[in-house]
C-alpha cells in the first residue's frame, strides 16, 4: 500500500512540475496571443533619432482567406520607427497587443537607399531569430520597402504568402530573377570573397486607370496607393516596363552586392546569364536578333542540359576563367515561311544562338568584374581546388585579382526543332 501511495504521489508531483514548468511556453505560443508577420520591410527613417523604419505585413484574416469561400485576404502594413530591428519588433508587440511571430515570414524587403549603406547588421539580426526560416526571400526594392509591401497584393493567389512562394518557381523557368534566401545571403556574407545577390523588386506608380474591377476594391483600400484595374505602369526605379495588372510590384532583375552593400543591378538578360553560370535556371526564353523572321526577332526556348563547367586557372596573377555552358533550344517563332525540318536552318539558328548567348555572358562578366568588382557567380569556389591550404588561398588575394580576370566563354547550344509545327 505504501509503495502504491508513493508512486501516486510521485506521479502527481511530476505532472504538477511539468504543467507548471511548461505552461508559460504554451501560453506564449497560443494562437490567441500571437500574430503572424508575412513580410518585413526595412527603410531609412526621416526621424533623426530613430534611423530605422521597419514595416510589418500581416494578413487581414477578417477579409477572407484560404479557408473561406470569399475573395482574397487583403494585407495590413504597419510601420514603426526605431533604432534597431529588435526594438521595432518590441514596439510593434506593444502597439498590437500581441506577440509578433515570424514563423510564416516569407519575405524581407530592404529599400535600395537603405541597402546601399550595408545590411549586414540587419541580416545577422534576422538570421539570429529562430522563427525566421532560412528560406525567407531577400528583396531589394528600388522604391521604399513600405510601398513595396503595400503594393504586394496578390492578384491570382488568394493569400499573399502563396504569391511569395512562387518566387523560387518563377526564377527557375524565367531566369529573370534569382531565388535569394536569407540563409544563402548570410552564408555568402560570412565568406567575403563571394559577391552577394538579392531579388530586385520594383514598385509601380499608376499612370492611368482605365478600368476598375470589383475584386480589387477590398485590397486596394488597404494598399492605399494602387487603386487597381488594368493599369499601364512605369517603373519608379528608372526603366520603363509596360505591364498591366492589379499588383503594383514586379520582381525582374537581380540586386548586386559587394560585401553587404548594394552596388547595382542586373537586367533581365544579365540575370539569365547569372543564373546560367550559377546553375539556378532550368529554362528561359531569349529573342535573337535575326533577319528574315517576324519583327527581325527569333524566340527560342532554351533549356539547360547539364551544369555549367567552370575551370579557374590561378597559376598567374591574372586568373583565367574557362566557362562552358551546355544548352538545347526549341524555336518558338513560326510563320508561313518557316522550315525547321531543314537541318541547315537549325544549324544556322544554333550558330546565332551561340553568338548571342556568348556575347551576353561576356557582357555580364565584364559588368561583374569591371563595374561591380564583385564575384557574384562564385568563381572563388572553383578556384579553391587550386590551393592546398587556406593560407595559400588567402595569399593569392582573390578579391583584388578578380577584377582583372580573363574569361573564355563557350556556349554549346543545339537547336533541336520547333514545338508542335515545323513550318513548311
Amino acid at each position: 500500500v505504501i509503495n502504491k501511495l508513493t508512486k501516486t504521489v510521485l506521479a502527481i508531483a511530476i505532472i504538477i512540475t511539468v504543467v507548471w514548468g511548461f505552461s508559460d511556453s504554451y501560453s506564449s505560443h497560443n494562437l490567441d496571443n500571437i500574430v503572424h508577420v508575412v513580410a518585413i520591410g526595412v527603410d531609412k527613417s526621416s526621424d533623426e533619432e530613430n534611423n530605422l523604419k521597419v514595416s510589418f505585413q500581416f494578413v487581414n484574416m477578417s477579409s477572407g482567406g484560404e479557408g473561406s469561400s470569399g475573395g482574397e485576404a487583403s494585407t495590413i502594413v504597419t510601420s514603426i520607427s526605431s533604432t534597431t530591428i529588435n526594438k521595432a519588433i518590441n514596439l510593434m508587440n506593444s502597439y498590437i497587443g500581441k506577440e509578433l511571430n515570424f514563423a510564416h515570414c516569407k519575405v524581407i524587403v530592404f529599400s535600395e537607399e537603405f541597402a546601399r549603406e550595408g545590411i549586414s547588421t540587419e541580416i545577422c539580426t534576422f538570421i539570429n531569430n529562430e522563427e525566421i526560416r532560412p528560406s525567407t526571400n531577400i528583396i531589394i526594392s528600388t522604391s521604399d520597402a513600405h510601398s513595396y509591401l503595400k503594393n504586394s497584393n496578390p492578384n491570382i493567389e488568394k493569400i499573399v504568402t502563396n504569391y511569395y512562394e512562387t518566387f523560387e518557381l518563377t526564377s527557375n523557368f524565367t531566369g529573370y530573377s534569382e531565388d535569394t534566401t536569407i540563409g544563402k545571403f548570410y552564408n555568402r556574407l560570412m565568406n567575403p570573397p563571394h559577391g552577394n545577390t538579392a531579388i530586385l523588386g520594383r514598385t509601380f506608380k499608376k499612370v492611368s486607370n482605365s478600368e476598375s474591377t470589383d475584386s480589387s476594391q477590398g485590397q486596394n483600400s488597404q494598399s492605399g496607393e494602387n487603386s487597381g484595374g488594368n493599369t499601364s505602369q512605369t517603373d519608379s526605379g528608372g526603366a520603363t516596363l509596360d505591364i498591366s495588372g492589379e499588383r503594383g510590384t514586379q520582381n525582374v532583375g537581380i540586386a548586386v552586392f559587394k560585401d553587404d552593400k548594394f552596388i547595382g543591378e542586373l537586367s533581365e538578360i544579365e540575370s539569365i546569364c547569372h543564373l546560367l553560370l550559377t546553375n539556378n535556371v532550368d529554362s528561359f526564353i531569349i529573342s535573337l536578333p535575326a533577319e528574315g523572321y517576324p519583327d527581325n526577332l527569333l524566340d527560342l526556348n532554351v533549356q539547360t542540359l547539364r551544369s555549367t563547367k567552370i575551370k579557374v586557372d590561378t597559376s598567374s596573377d591574372i586568373p583565367t576563367i574557362n566557362i562552358t555552358v551546355y544548352c538545347e533550344a526549341r524555336v518558338l517563332t513560326i510563320d508561313e515561311n518557316s522550315n525547321y525540318e531543314d537541318s541547315q536552318v537549325l544549324n544556322d539558328i544554333s550558330r546565332k544562338a551561340h553568338r548571342y548567348l556568348k556575347s551576353q555572358i561576356e557582357n555580364y562578366l565584364e559588368k561583374t568584374t569591371k563595374k561591380f568588382n564583385s564575384d557574384i557567380a562564385g568563381f572563388i569556389d572553383h578556384a579553391t581546388k587550386n590551393f592546398l591550404t587556406l593560407k595559400d588561398l588567402e595569399n593569392y588575394d582573390w578579391s583584388s585579382k578578380y577584377e582583372n580576370s580573363n574569361f573564355n566563354v563557350d556556349v554549346k547550344i543545339d537547336v533541336m526543332s520547333s514545338l508542335l509545327f515545323s513550318g513548311n
Partner: protein, 370 residues
C-alpha cells in the same frame, strides 16, 4: 528469468547511439571549426585511427573474456585500482553527459520553449530516463535498437534533401589550415568516438562474447560513416564561420530542407527523432554509470543507483552557468579528459595483457616441469 545480456545488434546500436548524440550536438562544429575545409579529410583520418584503436582494445580485451575494464583493473591492481578507474569513468560519464544534456536542453529551449526555464526541460529528460532504466528485460537496449536506424535514416534524408544547396567545393583547399592542423592536432577530434570508452564495458554484458570482434568493428565503422555523413552535410551546406555560430549545425541544416511547397518545416520531425534518440542515449549512460556504481560499491538496487546517477547529472548541469562555459568544457576539458581516460585504460589493458601472458607462460613452464 530477466534477460539482461546484449545481443550483437543491440551492442552495436549501443555504441553508435553514444556517438550520434555527441555528433548532433557539438562534434560537427568542433571538427569543422578546428580544421575548416580539411574537415572531411580529418574525419576520414580519425576514423581510421579509431578503427586501429578499437582493434587494439579488442585484442587486449579478448585476453579477458567476460571482463570489463573494472574487472581487469581489479586483476591488475586490486581494489584500489578498480576504485580509481571506477571513479574516473563514473565522473567522466556524469560530467560529460550533464554537459550534453544542458546543451540539448538549451537548444530545445531556444527552439520551442522560450518561456520555460531550462531546468524543467532537463528534469523532464531525467524523469523519462529513470523510468526507462527501470524497465525490465533490456527494454532500454531493445528500444535503442529501433531508434538508431531511425536516426541514421533521418540523417541520410538530411543529406539527400540538402544536396541541391550543397557547395561541394567547400572541401577545398583540401588541407585546410595545413598538414599539422589536419593530421597532428587533428588527432584531437578522435574525441568524437566516445564509443571507444564504452567498448571497455561491453564484454560482460554480451550474450555471446565471441562476437566482440564483429561488434567492435561494425560499431566503429557505422559510427565513422555517420560522422562522415554529418560532416559532409554541414561542410557542404554552410560556410565555416556560419557553422561556428550555430547552436547545432545539423539542426540548422534540417531547417533548409523543403520538398516542394507541401513538405516544409521538416525540422520538427527531425527534432522529434533526435529527442527520442537523446533520451535513449541518456538512459544508456545512466545505466552504464549505475553498473559502475554497483560494481564499485555495495549498492545492489537498480532503482536507487539510477535515481542517484540522474540526481548527480542534474546537479552537475548547474555547473555550467551559460552556453560559453558549456562549450569550453566540451571543447577543452572533456576532450583532454577523454584522451587521459582512454590512455590510462589502454595502459591498464596492456599491462594486464602482459601480466596474464607472463602468468600463463609460468603456468605452462611449471606444468611442463611437473
Amino acid at each position: 528469468m530477466e534477460n539482461t545480456r546484449l545481443g550483437k545488434f543491440e551492442a552495436i546500436a549501443f555504441i553508435i547511439t553514444v556517438m550520434i548524440n555527441h555528433v548532433f550536438l557539438n562534434m560537427t562544429k568542433i571538427i569543422i571549426s578546428s580544421t575548416e575545409s580539411s574537415a572531411l579529410l580529418n574525419t576520414i583520418y580519425i576514423s581510421l585511427i579509431a578503427l586501429v584503436v578499437s582493434y587494439i582494445i579488442y585484442v587486449l580485451l579478448n585476453k579477458f573474456p567476460t571482463f570489463d575494464i573494472l574487472d581487469i583493473s581489479n586483476f591488475l591492481g586490486g581494489k584500489i585500482l578498480k576504485t580509481i578507474i571506477s571513479i574516473l569513468f563514473f565522473s567522466y560519464f556524469i560530467f560529460f553527459t550533464a554537459n550534453l544534456l544542458k546543451s540539448f536542453s538549451y537548444c530545445l529551449q531556444i527552439i520551442y520553449y522560450t518561456s520555460t526555464n531550462t531546468f524543467f526541460v532537463i528534469i523532464v529528460f531525467l524523469i523519462a530516463t529513470v523510468f526507462i532504466c527501470n524497465l525490465k528485460n533490456n527494454a532500454l537496449f531493445r528500444s535503442n535498437l529501433l531508434i538508431v536506424p531511425l536516426v541514421i535514416i533521418s540523417t541520410l534524408i538530411l543529406f539527400f534533401g540538402n544536396t541541391g544547396d550543397f557547395v561541394f567545393e567547400n572541401v577545398f583547399p583540401v588541407l585546410g589550415n595545413g598538414i599539422k592542423e589536419t593530421f597532428l592536432l587533428g588527432i584531437g577530434n578522435l574525441f568524437a568516438f566516445q564509443g571507444l570508452l564504452h567498448l571497455l564495458f561491453l564484454p560482460p554484458r554480451l550474450k555471446d562474447v565471441t562476437k566482440l570482434k564483429k561488434i567492435t568493428f561494425l560499431s566503429i565503422v557505422f559510427s565513422a560513416l555517420y560522422l562522415i555523413i554529418s560532416i559532409c552535410i554541414v561542410l557542404f551546406l554552410f560556410d565555416v564561420e556560419v557553422t561556428n555560430s550555430l547552436l547545432s549545425p545539423l539542426y540548422s541544416s534540417a531547417r533548409y530542407i523543403e520538398f516542394g511547397a507541401f513538405f516544409q518545416r521538416l525540422d520538427s520531425i527531425f527534432m522529434l527523432i533526435w529527442i527520442i534518440s537523446f533520451v535513449s542515449y541518456l538512459s544508456i549512460i545512466i545505466n552504464t554509470c549505475s553498473n559502475i556504481m554497483k560494481k564499485a560499491t555495495h549498492i545492489n538496487s537498480n532503482k536507487f543507483s539510477t535515481t542517484l546517477v540522474s540526481f548527480l547529472i542534474l546537479v552537475v548541469t548547474f555547473f555550467s552557468k551559460n552556453y560559453a562555459v558549456s562549450t569550453f568544457f566540451t571543447d577543452v576539458v572533456y576532450k583532454y579528459a577523454f584522451f587521459l581516460i582512454l590512455g590510462i585504460s589502454l595502459i591498464i589493458l596492456t599491462l594486464a595483457f602482459l601480466v596474464k601472458n607472463a602468468k600463463n607462460k609460468s603456468n605452462l613452464l611449471s606444468g611442463g616441469a611437473k
